[in-house]
Point group: C2
Chain length 115, copies 2
Amino acid sequence: MPATTPEPPYYAVIFTTTVTGDTGAYQETALEIEKLAAQQPGYLGIESSRDATEGITVSYWNDEDAIAAWKANVDHAAARERGRAQWYATYELRVARVERAYRWSRSPEGRGNGG
Amino acid sequence: MPATTPEPPYYAVIFTTTVTGDTGAYQETALEIEKLAAQQPGYLGIESSRDATEGITVSYWNDEDAIAAWKANVDHAAARERGRAQWYATYELRVARVERAYRWSRSPEGRGNGG
């Protein structure tokens, strides 16, 4: 589901990956890391999708300080290290400031303005 | 693959969707729209991943004007309309300014700084 985020501005970390064939424990580690992220101050939400070759995870944060603190988290750092040693073939990480957002939903509780 | 984008700043459109059961012609239309996007002025690249329930597409653009022109493209507008009528259960679209980016690659041509 799209993450439920407040009115902009806030920050997004867009993490796009391709993986090697060696993805043992990848899925479990990814879920653990998502749980850890959710405990960080300034965390707003996360969205993640992975198909056969490509994954995109977008996490949302109050501000740059929250992103820096999450980057410094030791368990997160250990998982990144393991990812580089074992899982990832390539990745790109982009830090972006969300300027505006529109939500649309088929159900009546949606804001209904999809632009 | 992570899109090959220039040095920031540039813009990202993060489009997160969940779909209904009725996804006939969804995949073909999505690919057509990605091809159309690539012909737009100011287009920098696109990344897309879809699993069973959730999809994330991130397109990258030079500036807000390029995003506005793409939004106004008539074929794109028709596809959005069809998506709302048929495919999408919910979506959220976020426009964000990419401030910094790091690429890491297992192969020697990578920049090697994954932060």
